[in-house]
C-alpha cells in the first residue's frame, strides 16, 4: 500500500505519532487539526511514560530511549521513576504495586526513608518510604508533540493546522474523503485520533464511541536544584521535575464536562491549585519555599473502562480510531506504531491489542455515563 494516502484527523501526539510511523513506511500522510498541534491534552499532561498496565508497554519502553534520535528533535526523555509514600496507606499501596512489578518482571527497588532522601534531594524525613521503578520515565509533552510534527514533515507528510474536520464522504463501505470547511481530502485510509471530539465525528459514520471528557489540572514551580532522577512523584500526585528544574505536578479530583465539536470551549484552572500545592510541599518539603508560577488545565476523554480504544473498524473498513483515555502521551511512540500496523496490515505486529477493541463496549448501557457519575455538573 506504499504510496497510498492516509488522512489523520487530530494533530495530538497519537495522530502525529501514527502519521510519523506511516510516513516512515513511505505512506503519504496528511494531518488535519482544528488548531495547533499538541494543543489539547497532548501538551497539557504530566509527561509520564511508564504505562505498565498497557499491552503497548513493552513497545513504549523500547522506543522512548530512542525517540530523540528517531525523530531528530529533542523530547527531554528521562528514564526511571521514584514514587514516595507520605502516608501509611500509600506505603502499603505503593509496596503492593512494587510487588506486582516484581511479579511481572519489571525491575523495581523498595526504598527506606534514608534511601529516599539519598535518591531524592528535595524529599524530607516524614515519608514512609518509596519505590524506585528502574523502568519507564518521562518527557516534555509540548516539545515531543512538535517533534512528531516536524519529523513527520521531514518525511514528506503534511500538517494542516486551523482546519477542523467537519464530515466524511463514504462510498462502497469506505471513507473516500475527509472534509473540512475549506477542502476535501481524498484518502485510502483514515485515522481518527481527535480526542473527545472523536465521539461526534464517529457518530457521523454511525459508529458509537463511548467517551466522557473531563478537566484535570496541574501546577508548576520555578526551577529547583536538579535531582538525579526527575521522575519523582507519589503522595497521590503525578508529575516530574523538568530538565530546566521546574516541578510540574497534577492529581486530585477531576470535573466531568461536555465538549463541543470544536473541542473544549476553555481550559480553566481552579483553586484546586492550592490542594496540589499542599501535597507537593509535603512530598518535596525542601522545595516548599519555591514559587508556583503557573497552573493550567487540560481536557481528557475516558472510555467506560478507562482503557484506550485502538481499533480498525469493520464498516467502513478503512478507518482506524484511537482514543487514549488519559494515557496517550506516554504511550504515543507505541500507539503510533500500532495504528500504523492497523492501517497498513490490519493487525498490530508487536502486541495483542484486542483488549483495546471497540467491540468490548457492544453491550454498554445507553446511560453508561450517568451510571458511573460521569456527568457534567448541572
Amino acid at each position: 500500500m506504499s504510496g497510498a494516502e492516509v488522512v489523520i484527523v487530530g494533530g495530538g501526539v497519537t495522530g502525529l505519532s501514527a502519521g510519523w510511523w506511516l510516513a516512515r513506511s513511505g505512506v503519504k500522510v496528511t494531518v488535519l487539526d482544528k488548531g495547533i498541534v499538541g494543543w489539547e491534552a497532548s501538551g497539557r499532561n504530566g509527561g509520564g511514560a511508564s504505562h505498565y498496565q498497557s499491552p503497548l508497554f513493552d513497545e513504549e519502553h523500547r522506543l522512548w530511549p530512542q525517540m530523540d534520535e528517531l525523530l531528530g528533535y529533542p523530547t527531554e526523555h528521562q528514564k526511571e521513576r521514584i514514587i514516595i509514600a507520605m502516608t501509611e496507606r500509600q506505603w502499603e499501596q505503593y509496596r503492593f504495586v512494587a510487588e506486582r512489578h516484581q511479579r511481572l518482571g519489571h525491575p523495581v527497588d523498595v526504598l527506606d526513608v534514608k534511601q529516599v532522601q539519598d535518591a531524592v534531594p528535595l524529599a524530607g524525613d516524614k515519608c514512609f518510604g518509596g519505590v524506585h521503578y528502574r523502568f519507564g520515565g518521562h518527557a516534555n509533552p509540548q516539545r515531543t508533540a512538535q517533534a512528531y510534527a516536524w519529523a513527520l514533515q521531514d518525511l514528506g507528510g503534511t500538517i494542516n493546522q486551523h482546519e477542523a474536520v467537519t464530515s466524511f464522504e463514504t462510498a462502497g463501505g469506505k471513507v473516500t474523503a475527509v472534509k473540512t470547511a475549506v477542502a476535501s481530502y481524498g484518502c485510502d485510509s483514515v485515522v481518527v485520533a481527535a480526542g473527545p471530539q472523536t465521539a461526534a465525528l464517529m457518530a457521523q459514520l454511525g459508529i458509537d464511541v463511548p467517551l466522557a471528557p473531563a478537566r484535570a489540572e496541574m501546577i508548576i514551580t520555578e526551577p529547583a536544584p536538579m535531582m538525579p532522577i526527575g521522575g519523582v512523584d507519589g503522595h497521590k500526585l503525578y508529575g516530574r521535575q523538568t530538565m530546566r528544574g521546574n516541578l510540574a505536578y497534577g492529581g486530585g479530583p477531576h470535573e466531568w464536562i461536555d465538549v463541543g465539536e470544536m473541542g473544549p470551549a476553555a481550559r480553566p484552572s481552579t483553586p484546586l491549585m492550592r490542594n496540589l500545592a499542599s501535597r507537593l510541599a509535603e512530598l518535596l518539603p525542601k522545595a516548599a519555599h519555591l514559587n508556583v508560577i503557573r497552573s493550567w488545565a487540560g481536557v481528557i476523554e475516558n472510555s467506560p473502562d478507562g482503557r484506550p480504544i485502538i481499533d480498525r473498524l469493520t464498516s467502513p473498513d478503512n478507518v482506524v480510531i484511537a482514543s487514549m483515555s488519559g494515557v496517550g502521551f506516554g504511550l504515543s511512540p507505541a500507539s503510533g506504531h500500532a495504528i500504523r500496523d492497523l492501517v497498513l496490515d490490519g493487525a498490530c505486529s508487536f502486541a495483542d491489542i484486542s483488549i483495546l477493541g471497540l467491540s468490548r463496549f457492544a453491550n454498554l448501557e445507553a446511560d453508561w455515563r450517568e451510571r458511573r457519575g460521569w456527568m457534567p455538573i448541572a
Binding site: 499501596q93 503492593f96 493546522q161 530546566r244 481552579t270 492550592r274 500545592a277 508556583v292 473502562d305 457519575g373
Partner: protein
C-alpha cells in the same frame, strides 16, 4: 471485574471544594487612587467592601520585578516591611478615608486569581478571588469585583539591558514617590512621550541627575508643555537615535552608548517607552479583553460582576498610538542589537533562539532542529506566542513574562511582517503572581476533597496490568488501590 455503578463518581470534584473564607459585596484589587476611590464609593453606598493591595511586596519579589520593573535599583530600605507599610499609608491618605468609610483594607496582600463558573468549569460554589500575604493564602467570595491593578512597565531589550540599573518608569516613580527608596543617582531615560517627560521631571525634582532622554523618532513625542519644562530644566533630548548598548560593572549600569556613538555616563537607564495595563487577572479568568492602541494595550472589555478602573482599564486616551510607538522602538532596538541579545532574562532566551524556535542550551540541537525556525513554523500557521513559548521557553520563567511577553509579541509581529494586533496575546495563568508552594497551599483541606483525591481518575479498571485481567490479581488491585469505588 464486576463494577457496581451507583451513579456517583467518588473521585469527581463535585461538592468537594471548600467554600470561601469570607464574602464581600465588593472586592477591590489595587489601592491606588482609582481603586481606593472605588472602595470608598462602594462602602458609602452600603456595600461590605474589601480593598487589597499587593504593595509592599517583599524584597525578594521586587528583585524579580514584581509587580513593576525595579531593575534592582531599590535601596535596602525596601527590605524593611514595617517601614514600607508606613510609607504606603503616608503616601496615600485616601486609604484612611476608605477605612473610615467602612472598607476593610489589606496591604501586602496579592490577588493571584479570580475564579467563577463558566465554559469548562461548573464546580465552583461561589465566585472567588484568591488572596495571599506573606503567611498564607485564602479565598474570598464577592458579588462584584473591581480591578484597579494599574499598569506595568514595558521592558525593551538592547545589548546590556539584562543587568541591574535598567528599569521601568512606573517602578522609578514608585521608588521615588511612595518609598523614597531609589538607589540610583544619575538617570538616562528612553522615550520622550509624557511618561518619559514626567519621569525626568520627577527625577529632577527629587534631586537626581538626569543624563538626558533618548528618542527614536525625530522629535519629542510628549505634550508641548512637558517638553518645555524639560528644556527649562536643561535636560537634553537626543532625537533620532536609540541606545546601542549599556556598559556595566558589578553593580550594574555605568554608561550608555547611543547609536550616534556618544557615550553617556549613568547608573540607571529608565525604559519609559510605555506602560501596559495590568490585565493579568482578567485574562487568567478568561474575561473579555481587546487591544486598544490609544490606551496602551489589551484592556478589559467589561462585564457585570467584573469591572476595571484606573490605568488597568486603559491609559488615558490622548490620541497617541502607543502600539505604533513601541513597535518603532522595538524595530530600532532589534536592528542594532546582535542576535545573541537576551530577550527572556529568566530563561536566558536570545532573539536568535526565539526567532529560530530553538530549544534551551541544555538540550541538543541535531541538524533537523537547527533547520527549523519561525519561518518554517509560519508555513504551518500564524505566529502564536504560546506555541513559541513552549518551544523556546521565552516567558516561562519566574517573572511570568512581565519583562518579555510584550517584546516577544512585537518581535514575532516584526519577523512575521504582520501588524501587532494579529499576534494573539500570550495566555496569563493563575497564580498571576509567583507564590511559594507552602503559602498558596490549602492547609485546611475540606474532608470531602481529601476523600475524593486520587492520583488520576479512580477508575478501578484503568491501571490493571493487561496480564492480570481476569486473574485473582485484578481483585487484589482493586481492593488495594480503589477501595469503595463502584463496589
Amino acid at each position: 471485574m464486576e463494577l457496581n455503578f451507583t451513579g456517583t463518581d467518588l473521585c469527581a470534584i463535585n461538592g468537594t471544594r471548600s467554600p470561601a473564607e469570607a464574602h464581600y459585596g465588593v472586592v477591590v484589587i489595587g489601592a491606588g487612587r482609582s481603586g481606593t476611590a472605588a472602595a470608598i464609593e462602594a462602602a458609602k453606598a452600603g456595600s461590605s467592601v474589601l480593598l487589597v493591595d499587593e504593595n509592599p511586596v517583599s524584597g525578594a519579589l521586587m528583585g524579580n520585578d514584581v509587580p513593576l520593573y525595579f531593575g534592582g535599583r531599590m535601596t535596602a530600605a525596601t527590605q524593611n516591611s514595617e517601614r514600607m507599610l508606613e510609607a504606603i499609608f503616608m503616601s496615600a491618605p485616601a486609604l484612611e478615608q476608605a477605612m473610615e468609610a467602612g472598607a476593610e483594607v489589606l496591604l501586602g496582600t496579592s490577588a493571584w486569581g479570580v475564579y467563577r463558573n463558566g465554559p469548562g468549569v461548573a464546580s465552583l460554589p461561589d465566585q472567588v478571588v484568591g488572596l495571599a500575604d506573606s503567611a498564607r493564602s485564602w479565598l474570598v467570595g464577592f458579588d462584584r469585583i473591581v480591578l484597579a491593578t494599574g499598569a506595568r512597565d514595558l521592558a525593551l531589550a538592547f545589548p546590556g539591558w539584562n543587568q541591574p540599573g535598567v528599569m521601568g518608569a512606573a517602578a522609578l516613580r514608585m521608588l521615588l514617590t511612595r518609598y523614597d527608596a531609589f538607589a540610583g543617582r544619575r538617570v538616562l531615560v528612553l522615550g520622550s512621550h509624557d511618561l518619559a517627560l514626567e519621569s525626568v521631571l520627577l527625577a529632577h525634582e527629587r534631586g537626581l541627575e538626569v543624563a538626558g532622554l533618548i528618542e527614536v523618532r525625530d522629535a519629542p513625542q510628549g505634550s508641548a508643555d512637558l517638553v518645555a519644562q524639560v528644556a527649562a530644566a536643561g535636560i537634553a533630548i537626543h532625537c533620532g537615535q536609540t541606545i546601542a548598548s549599556a556598559k556595566g560593572g558589578i553593580e550594574g549600569v555605568t554608561a550608555a552608548t547611543l547609536t550616534s556613538g556618544e557615550v553617556i555616563a549613568c547608573d540607571t537607564i529608565c525604559v519609559a517607552v510605555g506602560l501596559v495595563p495590568s490585565i493579568e487577572l482578567v485574562d487568567a479568568m478568561h474575561g473579555p479583553r481587546a487591544l486598544n492602541p490609544a490606551r496602551g494595550g489589551y484592556i478589559p472589555a467589561g462585564g457585570e460582576t467584573v469591572s476595571a478602573v484606573g490605568s488597568c482599564a486603559g491609559l488615558a486616551d490622548t490620541g497617541f498610538d502607543h502600539i505604533a510607538y513601541r513597535m518603532e522602538w522595538m524595530r530600532a532596538l532589534a536592528a542594532i542589537s546582535a542576535p545573541d541579545t537576551i530577550i527572556c532574562q529568566c530563561e536566558e532566551v536570545t532573539r536568535a533562539d526565539l526567532l529560530g524556535v530553538q530549544p534551551p542550551n541544555y538540550l541538543s540541537r541535531p541538524a533537523p532542529m537547527c533547520a527549523r525556525s519561525l519561518e518554517t513554523l509560519l508555513e504551518d500557521g500564524p505566529p502564536n506566542p504560546d506555541q513559541i513559548k513552549r518551544l523556546t521557553r521565552a516567558g516561562m520563567g519566574v517573572c511570568q513574562g512581565r519583562r518579555c511577553r510584550d517584546q516577544v509579541a512585537m518581535l514575532l509581529a516584526i519577523a512575521a511582517d504582520q501588524p501587532f494586533g494579529m499576534i494573539p496575546l500570550a495566555t496569563h495563568r493563575a497564580p498571576v503572581r509567583p507564590i511559594p508552594l507552602k503559602i498558596i497551599a490549602d492547609w485546611h483541606e475540606n474532608e470531602a476533597m481529601t476523600a475524593a483525591w486520587d492520583v488520576w481518575f479512580g477508575i478501578p479498571t484503568q491501571w490493571v496490568p493487561v496480564q492480570d485481567i481476569g486473574t485473582r490479581h485484578e481483585g487484589e488491585h482493586r481492593e488495594m488501590l480503589y477501595t469503595g469505588m463502584y463496589e
